[in-house]
Structure formats: structure tokens, C-alpha cells
Symmetry: C2
Subunit: 306 residues, 2 copies
């Protein structure tokens, strides 16, 4: 059965709809093995986030064609926007979804890096699970100084690109690629209007202040509902799972006499994250994934490899 | 988007593998819109259970072709087996899986009934959610007397078939069709060897003795593990859901100082049944189904209707 990998390129163009469409179409028309799941453009950020899904080889073809189109249409020397960026295609993460491992995605990002460097003379950095050193794990660190500071940064031997030349592409800068776990945006709503309680609970669960390793969190006020929320980014749902975060927030909230009135997932969520929660609370002895009827359909719809 | 309906015909042949294959192939070669998910034959019962999946019109085509093949190959006048049966094709239930309602499946079963009656001069009974009277809801009641008692039973005006002639097909008897909710076989394991506790808990949750409407249950000894189990058949997981059954068993077990040590789903389970459990325990404010990444894939794989 073919691998299914999610690929979420961030493009430094969020205002010219025709340009975004051309770049998007370059990816989907290069191969029949890639599906566009979503395309979201932000005018203030002047940035678009595309979500593709496909097997490894098809994504390699699609991303190479897409980068070529982005280089043809985007010139960072005149690009302005609210979001930090260092490349025409700023970052290309690969995320394992089905019949694919982190290692598959790391290998894929390296293949792509090598191909982009060679074809377009574009410097490439590897990040997250594909990073070649701890200092390069974090996208924000790699991108510090942005496009404008890139030529100088690359002269520092610490910041030599992983692939390609040691100077930025004149108009397209540099691109970051790599592999990461799926992100889940998850919010837990509290039956109180006291923001300080949400803040304190957020602090108790987030990694930076002593909480779960793969959790970022902050308190947020929901003005319209008159309540507060613990707003959570989960960067690895296998290692810091939904049920454990939920139960901890619930238990911390009890300490203030505050109930959890609900929770919400924002955007897409991988099925196994929810099945793991069901499995935990129902004390299932086996992973129910292989027994899910709909997964039999997926096996049939995306059958044995090419 | 095309409907996805499960169809699980029970065929009165479980010994001649070539005949089962011929009957199965008649269904799948009649249309490209139907997938065979499973085929299980029981020699003692002399019966096979086939599991198909497809949209309504394709299943109609497939089942009509399958019944034709079964009539050609099976003669109930010489059929022997441990399982009660009244037809060459004994029963054809339709189960809504995706973008299909119970009503869609009821309509489909009536269309099939009409078509089978007309084409093969076969008497048809409607059961479960398609039943035309309460007395005909239950398959066991309709089938009482089996093939051998059918001619006499049909003379009773109470048991006139819903479609077709009022006498059995000479070799193929009569067929039952209808619509029902998906079944889930679910077992909850208790940390005790005392079967009477499992029996008492089973009694507390099963419909017949005052429990949940869509639950059948009994106590079972797991000799190898030295524990007991509440073995459950769920006939409607939307109305009597997993989490409510689990929590009730857990609470009843506590009354005896007995822990729930695990639980298991046997066979296939519809994804929404597990998502509902996750949703309940995580207090999700919206059904997460539309946000499940894999469901986007299903939408793409089984796209808008013909």
C-alpha cells in the first residue's frame, strides 16, 4: 500500500491570487499522485499555506515543480508582509500520515533538498526531525535575520546551508524543508471569566514552564462567551496525547473550583489522535485502528504501491 | 458525494468453495461500484456471510446478480446445515455507513425486494427498520419454521410475503431483506474469576432485563486468563453508545469492588462510534468527524455521485 504523506508548503505570496493559483497548479499538474486539501492565503502576512497529500515520489515531483513556479513569480527583494520569511517558498514540511514513518519523511526532505539545490541553485536548510544539528531544529532560529540578513548569515560557517550554494538565491532566498509530526490545535474552555486561571493552567501544561514536552499553551479570553480558554498547540500527539492534556487541565481547573465546559479541535486532526483518546478512556486492549470500517475503505482507495 | 452502504448477504452454502466463489463473483462482476470487504464460510452451518460495500444503485445491481447466481447453484430441498435458513440467499441487510441514512437503506431494500420478486418469482420479507409490521422486525420470527415450513406458513395471511408470490420458490425458498444499524461486538473484561459478577452486570445493562435499549449482554468466563467478561452486542451505537455502556459496567463493577481491566472490540467498528467516545470524554463541543484528516481522503477517494 502506498504511503500517504502530508506536505504543507508556506509560500511568500498572499496577495496576488493569480500567482498563488499558478504556483498551486504547478504542483498538482506535475503529477496525478498529489491532492490539494487546502489553500489559505493571508494578505497581512503576504503568505499562503498550501496543504497537499500524496505518496513520497509524487510529492517530490510536485514540490520541485511548485518551487520552480514560485521562483518564477516571487521576488523577495520587493516582498513585504507581516510574517517572517527567508524564501520565495519559505518552508516545506513533510508529515507522515499513513503507512509512512518519520524516517520516510526525513529521507524525502533530503531528496527534495538535493534536487532543489541542484536544479535551481537554491540553498536549503533541513529542520525539525531532519535537522543536521540541534541548533537547526527550530524554524525560527534558522529564519532569524530573514531574507534581508541571509547573505551575511551564510558567511558564518555555523549557518552554511545543508544543500546548495553558500549564498542566497538572488530573488528566492533560501528554503527550509524537513519532517515533523502532525500539529493539533486544541482548546479547552473553562467555566470562568478569570483569565489568570487559564494562564496558570496553561503554564502548568506547557513544556517551557515544566509541563508536557510537546505542548505549547496560553490563556485566552473568549469575550463573546464570557469565559476563558486554555489554547494549546500539540506538536506530537503520540508522545503528549489529547487525553493526558485534557485530564491534566481538568484536574488543575478543579483546584480553582472551575469546571471544564468543553473543548475544541481547530482545523484538521489525524484519526489516530482521536482513536487513542477513545482507546484510553474505554481501556481498549488493542489499537482499534485496523478494525475501523472506514480504514478498510482507505486501504481499498489507496491500494498497493506503483 | 456518493453514499456508502454496507451489505452483508447470508448465503445458504458454506461447504462448496467453488459455488461460494461463483456467487460472490456474480456480485462483484455485475458492477464496478461494489467492493468485497470480507467472505467467511462456516462448514458446520453450511452458510457464508459476505460483506460488500458500495453506493445504493451499485449494490442493487450486485445483489440482483448475486441472487440469480445463488438460485442457479443452491437447492434448499437438499441443503443441510446447523444454522436456521429459509432461502438460498437467506437474508440481505443494508447498513448505512457514510452519506447514507436508515431511510436510504430502507428504500434500497424495498427496491431490491421488488426487483427480486419480479425477476425470479421469489417471495421477499422486509425486516428490521424496513419491516411492515412489528411482528416482522425480528429475523428469527420471520424465519421460524425454516424452508421446510415455508409453504404452510405462507398460507397464514399474517405471513404473506411483502413482495412476490405467496408460495416459496421451489428450490430457493424466500429471502429476507431490510435495513439495520451497524452491529458492534464489544467485550469488557473484569478483574475477577467470579462469573456470577459478570452475569449480574450483564443483566444490569441488557435491554431484556431493564438495561439499555440497544444492548444484548451475557457473562463469559475467559479460562486462559482466569477472568470473566461482560460480552456485549450493541445493535445501535448511536442510541446506546460505547462510553455509556462502558461507564455503567465500570460503575456496576465498583459495587463489587471489581476493576475493569480492559475492553475489546470484535470485528469491524464504524469510525463514528469511536469518535463519539473520544468526543464524550474530551467534552468536544463539535463532532470531530469532518475534521479528521483521513475523512478528507475518503471524500476524495469516493467523490461526488454519478
Amino acid at each position: 500500500m502506498k504511503s500517504l504523506i502530508e506536505c504543507i508548503p508556506n509560500i511568500s505570496e498572499g496577495r496576488r491570487d493569480d500567482v498563488v493559483a499558478a504556483i498551486r497548479n504547478a504542483a498538482t499538474s506535475a503529477t496525478s499522485g498529489v491532492l490539494l486539501l487546502d489553500s489559505t492565503s493571508d494578505r497581512d502576512h503576504n503568505r499562503s499555506v498550501l496543504t497537499f497529500l500524496g505518496d513520497g515520489p509524487s510529492l517530490l515531483t510536485a514540490m520541485t515543480a511548485m518551487v520552480e513556479a514560485a521562483i518564477a513569480h516571487i521576488d523577495l527583494r520587493t516582498h513585504k508582509g507581516g510574517h517572517p520569511r527567508m524564501g520565495a517558498v519559505d518552508v516545506i514540511p513533510f508529515v507522515p500520515i499513513r503507512r509512512a514513518t518519520t524516517k520516510d519523511c526525513v529521507d524525502l526532505s533530503k531528496k527534495l533538498a538535493s534536487q532543489l539545490a541542484e536544479k535551481f541553485n537554491l540553498p536549503i536548510y533541513l529542520y525539525e526531525d531532519a535537522a543536521t544539528s540541534e541548533a537547526r531544529r527550530n524554524l525560527a532560529t534558522i529564519r532569524q535575520g530573514e531574507f534581508e540578513g541571509l547573505a551575511k548569515k551564510m558567511q558564518d560557517s555555523l549557518w552554511m546551508p545543508d544543500y546548495g550554494p553558500s549564498e542566497p538565491h538572488p530573488s528566492a532566498g533560501a528554503t527550509v524543508t524537513g519532517a515533523r509530526a502532525p500539529l493539533i490545535a486544541y482548546n479547552i474552555n473553562l467555566g470562568t471569566a478569570d483569565l489568570s486561571i487559564a494562564d496558570r493552567i496553561a503554564k502548568s501544561i506547557r513544556h517551557i514552564s515544566g509541563g508536557f514536552r510537546y505542548v505549547k499553551a496560553m490563556g485566552v479570553k473568549l469575550e463573546a462567551r464570557g469565559i476563558v480558554q486554555v489554547s494549546i498547540n500539540m506538536t506530537n500527539y503520540e508522545k503528549s496525547p489529547l487525553h493526558r492534556i485534557f485530564d491534566t487541565v481538568k484536574s488543575e481547573a478543579e483546584r480553582y473550583g472551575v469546571p471544564v465546559v468543553g473543548s475544541e479541535i481547530v482545523g484538521l486532526v489525524p484519526q489516530p489522535a482521536l482513536l487513542a483518546a477513545a482507546s484510553h478512556y474505554l481501556r481498549l486492549e488493542a489499537d482499534p485502528g485496523p478494525q475501523v470500517l472506514e480504514n478498510k475503505l482507505l486501504d481499498l482507495a489507496f491500494p498497493a504501491s506503483e
